[in-house]
Symmetry: D3
Subunit: 270 residues, 6 copies
């Protein structure tokens, strides 16, 4: 037997995360097709580079044709205006799913975000079936795409795993990240698990490392088979000694979305 997949499309391949996935997912497929609006350097053996804008439907479809899985990580984790999501993010999501339908892709692994449920209080420890509570327009792109994925599963049989990535950075940078941190290596493990699980239907899973502190629960997502190996705990002494605690009554401390939930409306003057 050979590779698990013939060709995996990775969108957002020029980003930090995309770069890790590019280096890590190779063994799973005969070829990786890498897509970004930015340049992605030289193609390694087995790689195909497609520089285009995912919100361009024709280009997106051309990139999807011939792939049997999509790892959709394009997009930046920052607040943005409604006009921006309407122009870029929502069309990109549609193009991915509709492209998958038209060209026979069977599974999409989507980089959703904790900000899809960011207004749940920390002490509620929301699980993967908690209702959407987006904390930003950015979060709203995630809830929209999750619902789109749900529709494409229920109606057209495209499987999805929505990875609600919490805080994927080189190191935990503040106290909140002591629970929300996801190492790059664990992000890769999570993506691999989502690609390899025999059956996912429409599934949601939170992306954090094996941190003692956990303000979200994957209890109902164990079928994905994600087992993190890194932990924010080794960074705790440094973080606790250098970074002050937030006021526990502040919005940023109160809810799992952290500072995003306290971000102003993108159109408001700063």
């Amino acid at each position: 037997m050979g590779h698990e997949f013939e060709r995996i499309l990775i969108t957002g391949a020029a980003g930090n995360l995309g770069d890790h996935l590019r280096r890590g997912l190779g063994p799973l497929a005969r070829r990786l097709r890498l897509l970004d609006v930015r340049p992605m350097g030289e193609a390694a053996p087995g790689e195909e580079l497609v520089q285009c804008d995912l919100s361009d439907r024709e280009a997106a479809f051309a990139a999807i044709r011939g792939c049997d899985a999509i790892v959709h990580f394009a997009g930046h984790p920052r607040e943005m205006s409604f006009d921006e999501i309407l122009r870029d993010t929502l069309p990109a999501s549609y193009n991915v799913y509709e492209g998958a339908r038209q060209f026979g892709v069977k599974r999409v692994v989507y980089a959703s975000s904790i900000h899809a449920v960011g207004f749940h209080p920390v002490e509620d420890v929301p699980d993967t079936r908690a209702p959407h509570r987006p904390d930003t327009f950015y979060g709203l792109t995630k809830t929209f795409t999750e619902d789109l994925a749900s529709l494409y599963w229920d109606k057209w049989g495209i499987e999805s795993v929505c990875l609600r990535i919490c805080s994927c950075f080189p190191e935990p940078a503040d106290r909140r990240m002591l629970w929300s941190w996801l190492s790059y290596s664990d992000c890769l493990r999570l993506t691999e698990a989502a690609l390899l699980a025999p059956r996912v239907g429409f599934s949601v899973i939170y992306g954090t490392s094996d941190n003692a502190r956990a303000a979200v629960s994957n209890a109902r997502a164990s079928h994905i088979g994600y087992r993190p190996r890194d932990s924010a705990d080794v960074h705790a002494p440094r973080v606790l000694s250098r970074i002050d605690r937030d006021d526990p009554a502040s919005t940023a401390a109160r809810v799992v979305g952290g500072g995003f939930a306290a971000a102003p409306h993108p159109d408001d003057p700063r």
Copy 2:
């Protein structure tokens, strides 16, 4: 004491439902502002007519200014393409909520739909906290707007009641409507209750009449105070004798969304 509201904006006022609301909601406000892209006839005393397209932000904001409640019923219950929702429905929803924020409107009553959760099986009897499972792109506009409403409540304190209207028609027209039917009068009662409830935060409620058959549950929405007075049951003998049963294994019979869940992709050739 005078009227409950100073000025209620009703969007979609030229539609069948909108017309009932126009005639019924008058006593709640000093003035009704009626909005539709279509003509709405003559203005009665206390009425203000605004003919415009809600997806036109400037026009929408102008219509919202001066209102203290919005009853947002614009839109047609039919499947539509992604490009259409991107151009019309999503911007209209944003304009309503962002207008409410900018001009101090405190409560929005939104005509969501059963199609926001249309893929839940009938025998699961989903309640108002069941996860989104849109059955169409139309349903996806409803899940998007519900999530938008959630964001505007959590972040900016705009209250919303999302009415998941099931089948609002003059009479039940098929066997599914024996559970899903909402009479026009009960739709008015539901809207009134949503406007008058002292506190709603972000709430969801299903819109059906008092039918013996019920494939959705309002058990967790009783704080709205909706009590229907009509019932599909009186129409049951006629419907049962004239209209054949669906195959219980068909998608249309299996899920609460009915035929919408079986509708083809809007871009596919018929």
Copy 3:
């Protein structure tokens, strides 16, 4: 349009309940086939009488052939020995479901019983998804047949409604029946609803009248569309004045199965 069904088979047709069903279900089908091991009197127009033992596979199959629905009420609500259930009740249940599969019957309405869950405490108010807790070998025949029905639905698409009949008698005879009583007329209504509901898959519903006291909950069975019209409440003054209360600490008062839960092992000497 004509009758809802071509031919309904009613098993246990010579019993009290069976007799009510025989008289009430006529309008739903072109023909009623009545089956019992006991004589059933004269056949009325539209009736077919089959006197046989349901545990006789060949006879059972012959009776099922040609029917498009089965109302399976055969069996007596009394404790019995394991050998008896092994010889009679379990084979009868199998024959009904396997016959349905072989001869294309699409829906079975099964007279299950409160004794399938009889050991749940009254103050827990079990709903239709509470785990099985049979209180007798009689109750065990009900849990077995419910599980058999579940298998035939999941695997072979035979729909079932399991009616967990509580206390179907002419009148409430003791204090427990003030919550558990089901009038004969309401039992008929319940059976009709189970036959007419557009989609049931595998469903369970409790059978009681509209009693103020309710120790079981149909909150998750509203899709069946059962609406009782009788009530034990009108009998309450008589029952309360004539019949003493049980010790609330006794097994019979403690659990929803009542006296059955306190019944001795059928093989024990009395």
Copy 4:
């Protein structure tokens, strides 16, 4: 058969509610023993009057001796200091339950209060198993006595029904009472049901009339058999026209406890 009880003790019999109970519960017992620290007028036939302070253990025990049920309604629904609850309310509760244990009383019906769970948000519609969230020291006396009742049930077999009375007044006096109102007649019905239910163990039930608006749920308390006959709905037009709405963002509008949840600390200077 004669009376349901030999002798019921009603505490708080001189209050408004107590007076209704005194006139209504007579038929359930051969004798009513009425207790209050205030004078209770003349004893009617079948009545025994005991004027004493329930926090006096000896007096309380003397009053309990010879009774077979206690309806414990003593206490005023108002905020009070910790020192006051320590001196009066908590000892009174203990004396009632310990007296019940020592003198063989088998059931206590206790007037608990919505303020035992007053900090649950209205839109959460808490049911009878929602965790305690007292909103005042008054509410804390209710949670304490409920827990005491739980202990006396689990350990010594004294049954209790804790009636979480919402707003028991002659008429709904504000918008909140449109959901929380309990008529005096319905309060009597509720108490009767709690006394007559065959088995209650440790049960909790909310006390409201049959109001369309309902911010609490008795779905899991139906075994008590309480069916209200009055409704705040008939008072709604008057209340809505005369009394302004609260700010939905205020604590009083936000939570089921209403104004109590906004009450200051009793020791703070006003």
Copy 5:
């Protein structure tokens, strides 16, 4: 202090699992009584061999007499006809429980199976309180015996732990077993835990090793104290490279029962 038990009866002792239990459970009891319909070789010191058919009541009772615990593993994990279960499996189960009752055995550890709940979808991750959804007649023997165990606990105080064994084999043989595999050693640990837990009442627990992938949840069975030490994960590279994935839309991939759920009716011609 000496052995935990005086004499443990192991049924199915000649099977693969039975053989492991025979070698592993010795230290827990003064004597092991081994039962199988097949020969079991030589008796080691402390062993007693009983070759008989468990469906023979007299023989079964004779084997049970004198034991204080039963480890009931008899039966083969394969689909079988209804007539076969009626003749063999159900009587064997009854004989075990009724024998336990008659001869004072206090605890039964029963080898139930994942096939008792085999039709739950993988992505639902059913826990130990999920409703029965048998996937075969084999699964139906498991649901029946679990309900029998429930009855014998509720009514006659015989404790049971039902081990829902998933895939007990020397090594994971396909992709599904990457979540469902239970090593022989972990099966022994699970059985030991079930025997040693101070209090089990009627408990259910899934039997898998410590696999990263988990499509069932023991979150509510932690009181048994089972802690697996083996893991399918070490076998994952081999399995993934040699064995193709199933179609995720196939029944075998969709539900936790795997291929059993897709097995034809045992009486159908192959």
Copy 6:
């Protein structure tokens, strides 16, 4: 950055647990203020000793003034009379919380107990949202103080973590402790986690070590970040071999409170 806290008050500092906390919590604060009614030896550098009775309000307030966190461990884990809890324990709890409010303490870590929920059956594995079921008057002091903490959080913004300590002893002393044991070191880890968690609101967490057997669940308390390192499992062979099993039907074996749940009324003659 310096210490996490300026001054932590530890009550009950002369007890076994208090002594561990005294030695372990030093690094978290610039100063530790130690309080007990008993002598506490010599003050180490950074320590302040306050010998007083917490039920003396003036003394308690004086001790609290100047602290920014309170670790409230005063009190002995033994059954006591109602009069005793009224005189000592309840006033002490009030003084701690009211002192926190008056002097600006933002977080309290409270040594609650398993006996707050002691009557839940072992096989129910109660989580941190299970209703109160106190098993003693001792347990009642814990439910009261938890409710008091809830009130002070909801109304005055004082955060609390209620540690439901199970069995904190040098070693597991009986079979129940194989699940309920909490080592002194893990108790310290638990307290540290409760102090350091960025946001706790009102939270509850069970205190046990990392034992294979677990009759309570912290699944919904993972935001606290407690990760035990000790385990009762290493003590299991000794305990199992030396200490007989309880009768599984006894109250002490049946419920999580163990022997406390079987303790007699403190006023009863022994």
